[in-house]
Amino acid sequence: MSDQKPFIDIRHAQKSFGTLEVLKDISLQVDRGQIVAIIGPSGSGKSTLLRAINDLDPLTGGEVWLEDKQINKTLPHRQYEKHINEVRQEIGMVFQHFNLFPHLKVRENVTLAPKMLKGLSDDDANALAEEQLTKVGMIERIDYYPSQLSGGQKQRVAIARALAMKPKVMLFDEATSALDPELVEEVNLVMKKLAEEHMTMIIVTHEMSFAESVCDRVLFMDQGVVVEEGPPEVIFRNPKSERTQHFLRNHLAAAG
């Protein structure tokens, strides 16, 4: 790791729901342009950790920093809202279930936030939408409604929607888990393209081969802790921890 300040810095993240502790003192640094995969069994806290980065699931302890800005600051309500809305514009997020806005066409899904938050004119917003939709290969469907798209197409539009805000980092929360197997690849290709453009990405995933081929680092989480982390070839080929070995074995068996 370089000696400059990390791009994203999660320090001693702790999260409890009542008496249930889902994140137990997790620290994670991500450099600019790095691509980190978080793997682990369901309930391991990996999505919670990801959602803590943009304060969607606020931590109960610890800090999250993006460059020189602390994201999960304690502020009076109004100031916090202003702060978090600014921070979130810099962090793109893609969800398992796409969460496209069904009442808006593909174009409007992409232009909504840039128009509203950055004051883009209709022309500029349209140009932006066309650019982002071309990038994800969805330009032909620009005037469709989300209900007229397949899952893979929806997810590509969701990626374009997030990219339109020109985020500094992209978070992927099991972006391909809800897709039919034959639709996974088209979304993976888009994510690979982003990787080639050196987008900083944190990816919660069950796609081990994808994680191996794209990511710089892999974290294996279980029961709220990072059990093991390292380069993908080590984690996938030569894991030290027994829990990691066990998880990967089961996963491979399940994947056939």
Partner: protein
């Protein structure tokens, strides 16, 4: 004394003008009840308690008392405290607020039924709570609730007849005036019933069109 529908043509213009007033009152009150309903729903769900409670009391009063009484109160009562509202306005406001309270219940349910992922997606893009509500949640909530709101609008049309008691010459009151001159209640009441029914059909046709249009965006 048999039935004689030949008296109708002479009074048809009065009745038709009454029908226009009925349509005007219904449309006005429908708009008030629609936007008032959304407003009340947002207050009920998101406003701080000191704002929410006065509105809750207001809603309870509107739900728990007869519409007729509310119209009397707005038209005859408010004058005493210096608020002189024209009968038409009193009718639109009274009818509109009454149904706004009903619509509010529907809107509250449908706002809460919009998938939480929608708000999350909007918030992660950087939209504020109000922006997310306005551009993402409310449009979907409204879309989902159009059929039952439509039923309320049809009830509203029928209840607009009550506005006759504060002297607005809408359909029912025009019929009574025609009957006063002709002593032919059956003929005119049947005529007026037919006109209500036709307006009703028109409203249903509009509603169906709206529903079809929103189907596309599901």
């Amino acid at each position: 004394m048999g039935l004689d529908f030949s008296v109708i043509p002479k009074y048809l213009d009065i009745v038709l003008i009454g029908a226009l007033w009925t349509i005007a009152i219904t449309l006005g009150a429908a708009v008030v009840s629609f936007f008032g309903g959304i407003f009340l729903a947002i207050v009920a769900l998101y406003a701080p308690a000191f704002v929410r409670w006065p509105f809750r009391v207001f809603s309870f009063l509107f739900l728990g008392t007869p519409l007729l009484l509310q119209l009397f109160l707005i038209y005859f009562g408010l004058v005493q405290i210096g608020i002189d509202v024209p009968a038409f306005v009193a009718g639109v406001v009274g009818l509109g607020l009454h149904f706004a309270v009903y619509n509010s219940e529907l809107f509250q349910t449908s706002i809460l039924a919009v998938d939480k992922g929608q708000t999350e997606a909007a918030r992660t893009l950087g939209l504020s709570r109000m922006q997310a509500l306005r551009t993402v949640v409310i449009p979907q909530a409204v879309r989902d609730v159009i059929p039952p709101i439509g039923n309320n609008m049809i009830a509203l049309l029928k209840d607009s007849a009550l506005v006759s008691v504060i002297g607005v010459s809408e359909l029912t009151l025009s019929a009574q005036r025609a009957i006063g001159s002709t002593y032919r209640p059956f003929e005119f009441y049947v005529l007026v019933a037919a006109i209500y029914y036709i307006i009703n059909l028109g409203m249903e046709a509009v509603l169906r069109r709206v529903e079809r249009r929103i189907q596309a965006s599901r």
